[in-house]
């Protein structure tokens, strides 16, 4: 597909002799939410780590917007517009929402060598973003993350990805440990992100959450992709579960 935002071709990853990814072909189109499913140890995390720069692929090609790229570390990934939101939402709980949003990319005011953060700008932008992702009650941007709920933390992480124009937002178990209402909130943020032009990879153990939000489901097993075009609107949860566990040789498609 010419419209692919990101494409992995024949990607392998070895940890010593253990092969975590085996000839993986995977792509995400623009404005697409892809659900990535698989049992523990199926290779989902490794695939994510390769894309987010946490580990380097052993072999294969990765192209972003049609350009071949080499993702050596997280900085490379961020520069390519790939933002990863981990289970613990990767926020520093002691710091304020605004300081977290801009961590690593703080706006500077005044002479450059003084490296003075523009706290006012940070608070303003953060406030706008919080309204945009729709955290119901008004939370000032100077609130430390420690006093936010799990769902609000995910919202902050997603807001951060949206603000920095990440084309691809990877969500690793964003609904873990969340209540029902908060889960719905997070799923709404994900849809908002897609509607404003971002692509997402959504990983969750809870298949029902995945079904509610994704456009396409990809299933991994033992380091390989065993199904990559499951339509959640035309497939049942039970069928997908069979693909994940390998009970069914292959879904009819």
């Amino acid at each position: 597909m010419a419209d692919d935002l990101i494409r992995m071709e024949h990607v392998d990853k070895f940890y010593g002799r253990v092969q975590a990814l085996d000839d993986v072909n995977f792509s995400v189109a623009r404005r697409e939410i892809v659900g990535l499913l698989g049992d523990n140890g199926a290779g989902k995390s490794t695939l994510i780590k390769v894309l987010s720069g946490a580990v380097r692929a052993t072999g294969g090609d990765i192209t972003v917007r049609g350009q071949r790229v080499d993702i050596r570390n997280t900085t490379d990934a961020i520069a390519l517009g790939i933002e990863t939101i981990y289970q613990d939402s990767a926020l520093v709980t002691q710091l304020s929402i605004a300081r977290n949003l801009f961590l690593g990319r703080e706006p500077i005011k005044g002479p450059r060598f003084l490296n003075r953060m523009d706290v006012r700008l940070m608070d303003e932008v953060a406030g706008d973003l919080l309204r945009k992702v729709g955290i119901g009650k008004m939370i000032p941007a100077s609130t430390p993350i420690a006093s936010l709920s799990g769902g609000e933390r995910q919202a902050v992480a997603i807001a951060r990805a949206m603000h920095f124009d990440s084309d691809l937002i990877i969500l690793d178990e964003p609904t873990n440990n969340l209540g029902v209402a908060e889960t719905q909130g997070v799923l709404r943020f994900v849809r908002n992100a897609r509607d404003s032009g971002h692509s997402c990879i959504f990983i969750a153990h809870n298949i029902h959450h995945v079904f509610q939000v994704v456009d396409r489901i990809v299933v991994m097993r033992r380091g390989r992709i065993v199904a990559d075009d499951i339509d959640p609107k035309r497939t049942s949860v039970a069928e997908v579960e069979d693909v994940i566990t390998g009970d069914l040789a292959g879904l009819a498609h």
Binding site: S52, A90, L114
Partner: protein
């Protein structure tokens, strides 16, 4: 608040406590230890600490005076060499902690022994001559004294104030401060945002080592003694100051204002209990009790805060 209370109590018991002479005396040594505590505050906020500061405090002046007395270098070159060697030691600490992933407790404990041992070996355990410092421009720049009214003020006070302002600015106003707090608060989150966590830690180890050497040299010029044994036990006193100042031992949270208060609280305590007649040897009992009390207070405030939200 604790500081005011402390001042009031000591003054009530012995009015000499707030005498001009006593204040200038207390401040003089306070700022020397304080220089180390300021740097240690940043390091501990980033989630690491350094036990080798006391041995560097003793080693750096020994190195400088040995070079100078041996006629190898001028005093100012010896001073620069000492600071560079301290920076290398800090770099070494930092690389051991970040590259080899050895806890800073073990790395800097080992470094403490190496540095202290070197100081003792180089000098055969004897203090170095320092009296030839008189008239050296460097000496007057570092510890030159003058009187403001009845107060005898050493230049080192200005170094301390300058360091406090600069480091306070770095920690709260700059992006580096944000990185330091993030490094101590959640290192993997900071790394995921592209913050060079290892770089931050190494830089702070270097800063702490250089500040310790600087403080040791100031102290040696003021007291006219470069004793290879000086600075023994300072590491714990400095860490105590920083912790009393509200910096979390686990990292992520710390302020320079708090550190300055912690420095004053401990030093005033030491001075005060001697003046009101408590034997100096009992000093550590008080320090220990204060630290335990502060920890209890912190955890109580923390729990109350959690309950509110």
């Amino acid at each position: 608040m604790l500081l005011v209370l402390e001042l009031a109590i000591f003054y009530a018991i012995n009015p000499a406590f707030l005498s001009v002479l006593n204040i200038s005396n207390t401040l003089t040594f306070t700022v020397e230890l304080g220089l180390i505590a300021l740097a240690m505050t940043l390091l501990m906020t980033a989630g690491e600490f350094d036990l080798s500061v006391g041995s560097l405090f003793g080693f750096a002046p020994v190195l400088m005076w040995t070079l100078f007395n041996g006629g190898v270098t001028s005093l100012s070159v010896g001073f620069l060499i000492s600071l560079v060697v301290a920076a290398l030691i800090g770099l070494f600490n930092g690389l051991f902690v970040t590259r080899l992933k050895i806890p800073s407790f073990l790395v800097t404990l080992g470094m403490l022994l190496v540095v202290r041992g070197t100081a003792l070996f180089v000098t055969n355990g004897f203090p170095q001559r320092t009296w030839s410092a008189g008239g050296q421009w460097l000496a007057s720049l570092l510890v030159g004294d003058f009187y403001v009214g009845p107060f005898r003020v050493y230049a080192s006070l200005f170094w301390f104030v300058a360091a406090a302002i600069i480091l306070g600015y770095v920690l709260t106003e700059t992006k580096y401060g944000n990185w330091i707090q993030a490094t101590g608060g959640n290192a993997s989150a900071a790394r995921a945002r592209g913050v060079d966590v290892a770089g931050v830690k190494v830089a702070l180890f270097i800063l702490t080592a250089v500040m310790s050497a600087f403080a040791g040299i100031i102290s040696s010029i003021r007291t006219s003694a470069a004793n290879p044994n000086s600075g023994t036990g300072y590491e714990l006193e400095v860490i105590a100051m920083v912790v009393i100042g509200g910096t979390a031992l686990t990292g992520g949270r710390g302020t320079i204002v708090g550190a300055v208060l912690g420095i004053l609280i401990l030093r005033v305590m030491r001075n005060g209990i001697v003046l009101i007649g408590v034997p100096g040897l009992a000093y550590n009992i008080f320090i220990g009790a204060i630290i335990l009390g502060m920890m209890a207070l912190h955890s109580w405030l923390e729990r109350r805060h959690q309950a509110e939200t």
